[in-house]
Each structure stands twice: as C-alpha cells, then as structure tokens.
C-alpha cells in the first residue's frame, strides 16, 4: 500500500467514526426530545424554575417640611445555599471555621463559634439549600455579612442568598395615622394617603428567577434580580407636623377630660385649602386610638354650626338684615306638635332680638322661625319655597362632597322637598335650619366655613402637594378653586360679622383672647334627638362642635373640632370643642411669628402743638422723609440742603435755613451726630462727643471765629 492510500484509508476510518458519533449525538438529542420529551416538558411546566416578583421599595410620605410621616426601610433576609456548584468541598472545608466565627461574633451570638460550626457542617451534610443565616437585618449588616468568608464568593460560588424584605415604618407612630393610612392589606380597603396615592407610592415590582427546592421553599437563582424593581415615588403632604402634633395632643386631652367617645380635629389653610392637620381619636379598650378617619369619612348631623347656611341664604335673598329684630319667642316655640327650645338662658327673657344677637347666642327658635317664615310652604305662584333654600345650599357648595383625594368621602345628605317628599314633613325645614335632618362630614362643614373665611372663594381641600422621585419633584399639585365666590361680597361680610359676634358676645365669648381675634360658631347637637323627640329614650348623648377661623381680619387657618358624646365636665360646644380649638390656635399663634401683630402697628396719633419737633436740625432731604413718615404737617421754606432747622408755627412745622456766618463756628444743636460731624469737620474743626442721640450742647458757642479748635458735643 502506498503512503497516500494508507493515509486515505485511515482518514476514512476517522470519518466513519465521526459520522457514527454524529448519529449517536443526534440520536441522544432525539431521545431527549421525543422519547423522554413528555417528562422534561412536564418538569418545565412544573414551575421547577419560575419568575417571582421582587417587591419595589415603597415611596415615603413626607410632611410639608419634608419630615418623614411614613417611610420604607430596606431589610434583608439572608440564607445560605450549601449545594451550589461553585462551593467545592475544598473551599467549604477551608473557610467554614472562619465563617462560623464571623457568624457567631457578628450575627448571632446565641451560638458559640463551635456551635455555629456544628450547624454549618450539619447543613452541608444534609445539603440544605435555604439555611437561614439572619433575618430582618439592615443594609449595613447585609453588606457586612456579604463580606464573610465563603459568602464573599457570591451567589453561585458561595451560596449566599440575599432577599430584600420591606418594612413600612411610621416614625411618628400615632400622628395622623388614619390619614396616612395603609395600602394592600389583605381583606381591607386601602385607606388614607397610602391608599389614594398607591399607584405613585408602590413603584414597579421586579422579577427574579427562583428555583423550587422543596414544597414550600423557592430560592433565588441569581445574585441580582433579572428585572430590578423600580422603587416608588415619594409623596409630600400638606400636613404640618407641629400643628398635627398639637391637634392630636389637644384632642386627646379633651377626650380624656370629658370622657368622650370620639373626636375629630381638622385644620385647613384658608387661602389654599391645604389640610395642615387631621386628627381622629376614638375610645377603645386600650385607650384612645386613631381607628377611623371620622373627619373625612363619617357624616354627622352638624347641628348649630350649620345655622350659618340658612342665615346666609336669608341674607343672600335679601329677606333680612343682621341688625333687624327677629322674634325668638322667649326661646320656646312649638312647630306643629313638637316643641323647640333654646339652650341659652338669655333667650328666655326676650321676645325678639337682632339677628346678630340671635345668631350669637345660637337661638334655635329665632333661626328656625325666621327660616320657616321665608322658606316654609309655597309662594303665591304655588312654588315650593324650600326649593329656594336648597338652591342657596347648592350655591354654598354644601350639598356636594369636597372631592378630597382620599377614598371614602360620602355625599352630604340634605333632604329635597320634591325628591324626598315622603320624608319631608312640616318639621323638616325648621329642624334643617338648625342643622338637623341633614348629614355632612366635618370636612364638608369646615370647607364651607373656609370659603366664608376666604371671602367666598371655595377651595378644594387637599393633602398632597408634591410627588417626588429620588431626583426631586415630578409633579406639583396646586390649590384648586372649586367656586370663585359662593355668595355675594355683602353676604360674606355679614356672615363674618355674625361669626365674630359669636366670639365677641355670644356662646363662645369665654374663649375670647386679647392677643389675636378669631371667629366661629359653636354647636351642641343631640346625637339621638329623634328618639328623644318621640320621648322614647330619656338618656341621650351630645355632640359638641366648634368651627371657625383665625385671625378674624385676615384669616390664615380654619378649623373644626367635633367631639362626640362627652360624659363629664360639660357638653356645650363652647365648653368641650371650643377649648380644643383655642388650644390649637393658641399654639399655632406661638408657632407662627408671622401671625403676631407688630407692636406699633396702630394708627399713629396726630401730632400737634407741643408734640411737634422744635429746633430739629440736619440734612433737608432726611428731614422731609421723617416729616412724611410721621405724618407731621410741614412747609418747606429752606433751600439749604445740609443745614435746615425746624420751627413750629401753630399746627405745622416750617423748615427753614439755619443761618451761619463765614469762618464762624456753626450751630449744630438739634442735629444728629452724622450731620453735625459733616458740618463741623468740613470747617476743619476737631470733634469729640459723648452720649447718644441729638446734639444737646456744643462746647464752643456758635459765631466764634474758627481757628482749629476742638469742639466737644454733648448728645442726649
């Protein structure tokens, strides 16, 4: 055989071998795909490995100054997969001692290094894939653990499994708890800001591949999630931590003092409608606790605080003026078969009084009679007159919800004489006029008062001012005007007068304060008055409320306080709810220096006669500024810009030249130091002075010849 043939023969042998090998490999492939196919596809469908969601970090909720109201905190669970391929016997055996030592020293000192070692060896023996190292550890701790021997080799070579668990923390605990709310609790509706802004806060969950290692356990396969979660945005609220804190404390104290069932405080920024504080407390077996957002979610019969609405309707319709005398029937009157009574003893002495006074002393009979007179029954054309009152209520926005961002705000319940004709009786209108037979939430009542405080401009109340991501603001939420003016300027003006009178002379006069002014209305309603009316039940509870705003002249904040079923130390609005309001605005007054009136911010007295400045001298321009600022009548007869003096002529001041001679010492008495120095030093005279104020005396008499003297000035 020649060389070439032998080579070829051997080449063919190799070729055939490889073709056989190729057949073998293809046959193996077919076997897996076709013969064993069912089995493997079943494994694939068995979720042996599947994606699981990785929670995104929920955004924080901040107060108006950026303090954390609710924050997400990263915590980590750390497990050890002792079966990973990269963790060879050698690596494990060489490092397990040091790992055990580190774990014992830095993670869990329940076990000695020896004890930890035993546990690790046992886990390795059993081939544990999800051996718990630590749970709920901080980010820093997690980083530390990741640096331990073996673990520093990562997921595939060291078996380290790090899973992020997220905790929600409210650093201020009780503070505005229900308003901040919560989301995604199983079996419960999302509430509060957490619920309402969930789509911003929640972020987007990531995905990570997990491997099923036992019936209940899935472990992540890779070190990082395949799709990293996108963390949620932060929400900046309008809540003011300081005010919120005071509101809760004041409410808590009052509830305890009066042994009341529950209470609500809401405080609003007048101009913007921003809610600065919402506190809700309720008696529970474990003391008072924030369990429900009564302020926003629960309708109550407003009682006397809503007398403002029918009175404003009457004013708006021009039926009555606030100084008109209205009958109050000595505080007792029967409507059909039911008696209405005033609670103020003042009423019992009067047949009639002004509307202003009737409102101030909260005369039920007065307001109800007046309202009945104009809105009960039908007019000459046969129209139902109550419809007009309801049109006015619509105009005041009190028949609509406020539209606050939070879920669960109910519609106000206000009867309509046509639609609700079955429930509409002769008693409806008079009782409606004093805030019964209707229901509104405290927030809805407050928003109405806020509009009055805001010169009729009805602002939508809101709680969230900004949505931020990690780089800053991504959406700003501006105040929303729902109605430009809910009533005529004159009506609003009169309403303000009425509310001021309540504090000045009326039911809330004992809350009056000299440092600042506030206006508002008290309310004391019976909780189960219907039963009482039917004499079915003797014992009945009260609801005490106060709603108002301050300061009266330029309102900054409006606030409502509602306390339900106070059992001790009084029941009246002025005794129970009013003091909470006072305490709150007192605190705000001290917290906010800009509310303080300037000490000299009063009308200046007119200066005349001896009060006018005589022999007051100096720079002409400066003197004119002083005269103008102090409203001193003056006549300028001077043309000397640097040396002018004043002389008093009857009731005005004349500014004239101060005469001086060439090379003679000038008269600087009555001048300020600056002016005196200017004049004297220009003449080359050395000046020494002592004291403060104007020049009273000069050591060298005016008119003396100048020859380089030193002059001593006495100031005073």
């Amino acid at each position: 055989m020649n060389i070439k043939n032998e080579v070829l023969t051997r080449m063919y042998i190799v070729l055939v071998t490889f073709i056989l090998l190729a057949f073998f490999l293809f046959a193996k492939t077919v076997k897996i795909s076709y013969v064993e196919g069912e089995k493997w596809r079943a494994v694939a469908n068995n979720n042996y490995v599947k994606y699981e969601s990785v929670p995104a970090l929920r955004g924080n909720i901040l107060s108006d100054d950026g303090s954390l109201l609710a924050a997400s905190i990263d915590k980590y669970d750390i497990h050890f997969d002792l079966q990973v391929n990269g963790l060879t016997k050698k690596v494990f055996e060489e490092n397990v001692d040091s790992l055990a030592y580190c774990l014992s020293k830095y993670v869990n000192n329940k076990y000695t290094p020896g004890g930890q070692l035993m546990r690790l060896l046992e886990a390795r023996e059993k081939g544990a894939r999800y051996f718990t190292i630590a749970k709920n550890v901080s980010y820093e701790k997690k980083n530390q653990i990741s640096q331990f021997p073996i673990f520093n080799r990562g997921r595939h070579r060291g078996g380290l499994i790090v899973e992020r668990v997220l905790k929600r923390d409210m650093p201020f605990k009780l503070l505005a708890k229900r308003t901040i709310g919560y989301a995604s609790r199983e079996g419960a509706n999302d509430v509060g800001i957490e619920g309402a802004f969930d789509k911003f806060l929640s972020g987007t969950n990531g995905q990570r591949l997990t491997l099923k290692v036992s019936e209940k356990t899935r472990i992540p396969i890779n070190e990082r999630a395949e799709i990293e979660p996108e963390d949620g945005n932060h929400i900046k609220t309008t809540l003011d931590i300081g005010i919120q804190d005071v509101a809760e404390e004041a409410l808590m104290d009052a509830l305890k003092y009066h042994d009341a069932q529950s209470g609500t405080v809401i405080l609003m920024d007048v101009k913007t409608g921003q809610l600065k504080a919402i506190a809700n407390l309720e008696k529970t077996p474990n003391g008072y606790w924030e369990t429900f957002n009564y302020g926003i979610g629960t309708k109550i019969e407003p009682g006397s605080v809503l007398k403002l609405a029918p009175v404003m309707a009457l004013l708006e319709d021009g039926k009555v003026g606030i100084h008109d005398q209205i009958p109050i029937h000595k505080g007792r009157r029967t409507f059909y078969d039911v008696e209405m009574e005033d609670s103020s003893s003042k009423s019992f002495e009067m047949d009639s009084t002004t509307l202003l006074n009737a409102f101030a002393i909260s005369s039920n009979v007065g307001i109800a009679s007046l309202t009945s007179k104009y809105y009960q029954g039908t007019d000459k054309k046969g129209n139902i007159r109550a419809k007009q009152l309801l049109r006015r209520f619509d105009q005041f926005n009190i028949t609509y919800p406020t539209g606050i961002e939070l879920a669960g705000e109910p519609m106000p319940f206000i009867k309509d004489p046509v639609k609700d004709s079955k429930e509409w009786s002769g008693l409806t209108l008079p009782w409606m006029s004093i805030g019964y037979e209707m229901q509104m939430t405290p927030l809805q009542i407050l928003t109405f008062y806020n509009a009055v405080a805001n010169d009729g401009k009805y602002m939508k109340p809101y709680l969230v001012s900004e949505i931020l991501d990690k780089d800053g603001c991504i959406k700003k939420i501006s105040p929303t005007v729902l109605t430009e003016r809910i009533a005529s300027k004159a009506t609003i003006q009169k309403a303000k007068q009425l509310l001021a009178e309540v504090v000045e002379t009326g039911t809330a006069r004992k809350l009056k304060n000299t440092k600042y002014s506030f206006s508002g209305k008290t309310g004391t309603s019976q909780i189960n008055y219907k039963n009482q009316r039917k004499k079915k039940q003797k014992k009945f509870g009260y609801r005490s409320s106060f709603v108002g705003y301050f300061p009266s002249d330029q309102p900054r904040y409006s606030c409502i306080v509602v306390i339900t079923d106070p059992k001790e130390n009084g029941t009246y609005g002025a005794d129970v709810a009013g003091p909470v309001f006072r305490k709150l605005i007192d605190n705000i007054f001290y917290l906010k220096p800009e509310l303080h009136r300037a000490l000299n911010n009063y009308k200046r007295p007119k200066l005349e006669g001896k009060d006018l400045p005589e022999e007051f001298a100096g720079n002409l321009e400066d003197m004119e500024i002083v005269m103008k600022t102090l409203d001193i009548p003056y006549v300028n007869k001077s043309d000397n810009p640097i040396m002018t003096t004043s002389i008093v002529r009857r009731d005005s001041v004349h500014l004239i030249d101060r005469p001086r001679g060439e090379n003679l010492i000038p008269n600087v008495v009555g001048m300020g130091v600056r002016d005196a120095l200017y004049v004297l030093e220009n003449e080359g005279i050395e000046v020494k002075f002592k004291g403060k104020g104007k020049v009273m005396k000069q050591s060298i008499s005016p008119g003396t010849r100048i020859k380089g003297q030193t002059i001593h000035l006495t100031l005073g």
Partner: protein, 381 residues
C-alpha cells in the same frame, strides 16, 4: 470579467467550506440576536444591543482574519510553527500562574485595549496542530522511526496538553485527541500510538498527584465532582436538566427564533449550552443542521485529502477540522448528557471572546490549503 467571476476568482478554495462557515455564523448571529427577545435582558436596558454589536464586530473581524489566512500561502505556516510553539509554552505557564480567574479557572489573559479576554489555549491549539502537521508531513518517509520522528512530535504534545490540563482539562483532552488522530491518519505505527496514550495517562496521573499539593492550580476537585455527578445522577445536575428541558421544549421544529425560555435558566446559554438553545428554538431540525455542518466540514476535508499532493497541507486541514469537530461534538455531548459537564464552546457559533477569532483562523488556513490544492489541480488540467 463579470463580478461573479471575479468574486469566485478572489474567493477560491472549497465553496462548501465557505458556505458552512457562513451558515454557522448566521446561526450564531441568530442565537445571539435571540437574546434581544429575552425579557430579562430587554428590561435591563439596552445591554442586548451592546452584546449584539460586539458579537457582530467579532464576526466581521473573524471573516477578515479568515480572509487574511486564506490569502497567506499555507506553506509559510510550516516555518512559523516552531516559533509559535516556542512562544506557546511560556504563555501557557504564565496563564496558569497569573491568568484572569474567570469562573474559577485560570484559562484567560486579558488583552489590553480591546476589552477581550484571550484564551491562551486557543493560540496553543493552532501552534501545536500546525507543528504536528509539519512534523508528520516532513517525516513521512521515516515516520515509523522512534527517535527521529516520534519523539519530536510527542514531546511538544505532552508539554502543551500538560500545561493546559490543570485549568482546562477538556481543552487539553480535545487537543490531545486531535493530535492523536492526526498521528493515526499520518501513518504513525500502532505501538507508538499506544505509547502516546500511555504517556498521556502518565501525565494525567502526575497532574492529579500535583493537584494534591497545588489545589489552586489543578482543579482535581471540580473534575471529581463533575465525574461523580455524571455517573451517579442519571438525569444530570441542574444545568443538564435545564438543557434537557430546552431540547425537549423544541420538539421537532422548535419554539421559534427568540422564543427560548430556557436561556433564562441555563448558565452561559450562548456559549456552553448554545446547542440546547438552538434545539429549543429550531427543534430537532436545527440540531440536525448543526451536527450536519460539522460532519460536512469533515467530509470536505476528506475530499481535500484525496486531492492533496503534499502531506503537510492535508495534515494541516485534517488537524484543524478534527479540532473544530471534536470541540463541537463535545459541546453537543455536554448538552445531551453524553459526557460530564464541561465548559467547551461550539466553535464558530458560541458568542464571546477570542475563541471565535481563532476558529476562523483555523477555517482560513483550511481554505488556504484548499485554494492551493485547487490551483495545482487547475494547472494539471
């Protein structure tokens, strides 16, 4: 002269081999492109384009290298072979000592500036095969003589494979097998081949003993665990199971390009387990084409041998073809659980690093040989 004719003049050599290379490169591109369909990658933000672009660049560079090699008369390699081989030894030693520790094995050294890691064993393969081919070719007349012919061939083989084996046993075995088959085809006597095998076993045994003293450098641990797993677990470990799921999911025609789900579960799906991914996406049809391409390559080389006048050229082509084919078959065998798990790429298909460049270099040299043989045949006619 028409364009077609000028192109065919320019690119002579075996058309089939050109075609095989182009088909494999296309498959490679598709497989990598498929990663764009992967949710995991897409959401991670633009990384796919980066990989795709990088891979495209490597393929373009590979074809350039292939063309350059193809243009160089292959006889020149004969002269260069001893120098390259002499360079290989210190490079392998350095890699073993200092190399980049990727996936726990010291197989790579980083190439500065171009952001690629360079597997020194790839360079060693080319050098050694060229050297062995030249030795077999030049000593064909007295090939059966031990001292003059056999020793100069086997000593470099044993040294090279011995240096590669500690960090990369499979590559060493593939190279050893390639050289062994080259010698077999090159008419080396049976008893010498037996002796070569014996030496191979001795070197391997020495390595295992060395592994007891230098575990950092010889991965005896890994070998043992992979072998144990292979023989004790009939379903295979996690990786093999995932690979089998991929193959089974493909059924006959596959789930379609870019629809692989198993790429998310397989470690290095576009390198070590690319056969499984191709089978998942293109079914048994795709698997058949892959295997067929390498068999066809071997057939074309056999045809070349029948035409070849000079032993060196034939041996060179045979050596490179065997090397590529064995590597491809090992890669496939891992995916179908016919051999223990080992990280061997599919030549001309797997994404990543310089292995693609070196495989193209081999193809280029094979084409150079075929061009030469064709031109001689043309002259004869």
């Amino acid at each position: 002269m028409s364009l077609g004719r000028s192109l065919s003049n320019e690119l002579r050599g075996d058309t089939a081999i050109w075609l095989i290379t182009i088909v494999l490169a296309l498959v490679s591109l598709l497989a990598v492109y498929s990663s764009t369909g992967s949710m995991a990658f897409r959401v991670k933000g633009g990384n796919t384009e980066f990989f795709l672009f990088k891979h495209l660049m490597i393929i373009a560079m590979s074809f350039l290298i292939m063309y350059v090699m193809y243009r160089i008369p292959y006889e020149k390699f004969k002269k260069w072979a001893p120098f390259c081989l002499a360079l290989t030894f210190p490079m392998l030693a350095y890699t073993l000592w200092q190399g980049a520790d990727i996936n726990e094995a010291r197989r790579w050294i980083a190439v500065p500036f171009i952001d690629l890691t360079f597997q020194t064993s790839d360079f060693a393969k080319i050098s050694l095969i060229t050297y062995v081919a030249s030795m077999i070719g030049s000593k064909q007349e007295y090939i059966e003589d031990f001292a003059t012919a056999f020793t100069p061939i086997i000593v470099p083989i044993l040294i090279t494979c011995g240096l590669i084996a500690p960090a990369d046993l499979s590559t060493a075995i593939i190279l050893f097998l390639t050289c062994f088959l080259m010698m077999f085809i090159g008419r080396v006597h049976w008893k010498f081949l037996g002796l070569l095998l014996l030496f191979g076993v001795v070197v391997f045994a020495l390595l295992i003993i060395a592994g007891q003293f230098f575990p950092e450098y010889v991965r005896v641990d890994t070998w043992t665990s992979r072998l144990t797993e292979f023989f004790t677990n009939s379903d295979g470990g996690y990786q093999v199971q995932q690979s089998k799921i991929a193959i089974a999911s493909g059924e006959w025609i596959g789930v379609g390009p870019g629809n692989s789900t198993q790429r998310n579960f397989l470690p290095s799906p576009f390198a070590d387990f690319i056969y499984a991914i191709i089978t998942e996406e293109y079914g048994l049809m795709g698997a058949f084409i892959m295997i067929a391409m390498f068999v066809w390559l071997l057939i074309r080389t056999t045809v070349l041998v029948t035409k070849s006048a000079k032993a060196f050229g034939a041996m060179l082509a045979v050596g490179f073809t065997l090397c590529l084919t064995i590597q491809a078959f090992v890669n496939i065998a891992v995916s179908v659980h016919a051999v223990p798990v080992t990280g061997v790429t599919m030549p001309l298909v797997s994404m990543g690093g310089t292995s693609f460049l070196f495989a193209s270099m081999m193809i280029g040299i094979i084409l150079s040989v075929s061009r030469h043989i064709e031109s001689i045949n043309d002259l004869k006619e």
